[in-house]
Amino acid sequence: MEWHLALTLLIGGLIVLMAIGLPVVFGFLAINIVGAYLFLGGEMGLMQMARNTAGAVNSFSLIPIPLFVLMGEILFHTGLAFRAISAIEGLIARVPGRLSIVSVLGGTAFATLSGSSIANTAMMGSSLLPDMLKRGYHPSIAMGPIMAVGGIAMLIPPSALAVTLGSLAGISIGGLLIGGIIPGLLMGLAILGYVVIRCLHNPALAPMDDIALPSGWERWRPFCVYVLPLFGIFVLVVGSMLIGWAEPTESAAFGAVAAALAALFYGRLNKDSLIKSLMETTKISVMILFVLVASTTFSQLLSFSGATSGLLSVVGGWELTPLMLVLCMLLVLLILGCFADQISMIMITLPFFMPLVASLGLDPIWIGVLFLIAMEISFLTPPFGLLLIVMQGVAPPGITLTQVYKAALPFLLLQLMVLMMVVAMPWLATGLSSLMQ
């Protein structure tokens, strides 16, 4: 079979199956069955597929996924995250768009403790949004920052998606996690700046509130009690990786235990919250990991059918400069991101991207971080952006999906801007991780 026919069959078939609503993982598995029969040698191929599938997730490098998710879920379900955010709220006063700023700062803070963008958005949306709308905030300045900052969770460690990407792409997971920090903070700053400027320019967007906040120690106490110790967990997780003291899997284990101990110490850990956290962790982790079960065979099929080399030789024929090629890859990711979920994006594109990256001698961590930012943007792109849907799910009745789309738009542009900055200045992504020992 010609390579382009094979490519159409594999990718096209996958898209059709996904579009009719088959769960994504079963789309991949179905294509694996057909492809293994055609390209891996009939029944022998199917046996090979069965062997691949059984062993696909037995990988030490994937273990941080459930641990990172658990860390965030514990802090979420025990209510510690809420405490931390209200402590931050107590510090911000007499500024335009106060609660929007709280959502950006609180969301970024939670991003340092949670590996899941969905949990982040759901929490901020359900805790801050009703209050903001009640105080007369315009929906766009109320919802936009919450969604935008939700995406940061997957960029700043701990990040389950960074682990998935690093593991499948063979990029240093520690390097990728550390590499996401600066772009993540940059993203937070950009969002913050935008909110302040918009609200200064048009105070009607976010009516000033004049609630009286306690002064002095009373004001700082919650911050010291709830935020600083939790920040310590982040320092532990990232620090232990940065100084080469622990592998990502090990620091993830530290993080999960530290989160549970913190919850215990504050007297918030009980049977119910622990069970709830474990249930949610299992659900989210299995959602990610079971799709990866199909990954080994799928990338083998792309390669054995000649689809990978065929497409790569065509791209090679264009004689693009490395920069153009990187921009092309990002464009593919951004378009794909409008329709596909993040794990599917990784599985479809990596078999093509990684050989290109290797042949051009590009820094894999730089590419990995760009990949993460592109995936973060895909959380906000209509029609299927996951955070848009989550946001509408937690927003009070009366908020339409169109309003959610509109609220996300300016922040989408900000994220594109940060993406371009990292393209132009690779050291933003690679600087910190090059310090790793």
Binding site: L17, M18, A19, I20, G21, L22, P23, V24, V25, F26, L29, A30, I33, L46, M47, M49, A50, R51, T53, A54, G55, V57, N58, S59, F60, L62, I63, P66, L67, L70, A246, T249, E250, A253, F254, A256, V257, I275, L278, M279, T281, T282, K283, S285, V286, M287, L289, F290, V291, V293, F339, D341, I343, S344, P383, F384
Partner: protein, 141 residues
């Protein structure tokens, strides 16, 4: 049970880091297998909870009758896919069993063991897909 598995997995990990702090080979390998076990056992439960990632835009935009037919089709497809996997996984497992191959890493055990949980997983997936299929068909009449 699945939750307990994952909890065990995590405690297992953490114990290994905090007590030994060394990379004891069998703990690393053990947690790799545990991750596989948790994933395969978790998958049918996640299907039961309707939490596998899927694109539901077509379903949401179809009239209810057509939507239900689509769902019936999807559940049948799912069951068929799981049957193929079950069949070939069992084949490989039986092949290993008859050849008597063993895994020689930190643990030494018969290789067919590694197929027990995946086979169970796909078996449960078939049951769950057929249960959903049946509910839709019965609801139809």
């Amino acid at each position: 049970m699945i939750i307990a598995m994952l909890a065990v997995l995590i405690v297992y990990n953490v114990m290994s880091r905090n007590l030994g702090f060394g990379s004891l080979g069998w703990i690393m390998e053990g947690s790799e297998y545990a991750l596989g076990v948790a994933t395969f056992l978790g998958a049918p439960w996640v299907l039961y909870e309707n939490a596998h990632v899927r694109i539901d835009i077509l379903y949401n935009n179809l009239p209810s009758q057509a939507g239900r037919r689509l769902e019936i089709l999807i559940n049948l497809c799912g069951a068929a896919i799981a049957i193929v996997f079950l069949y070939f996984m069992m084949n490989v497992g039986v092949e290993y069993y008859t050849r008597g191959t063993r895994v020689f890493k930190a643990f030494v055990f018969p290789e067919w063991w590694t197929f027990v949980i995946p086979v169970l997983s796909f078996g449960l997936l078939i049951v769950e897909f057929l249960r959903r299929f049946w509910r839709l068909v019965v609801g139809d009449t």
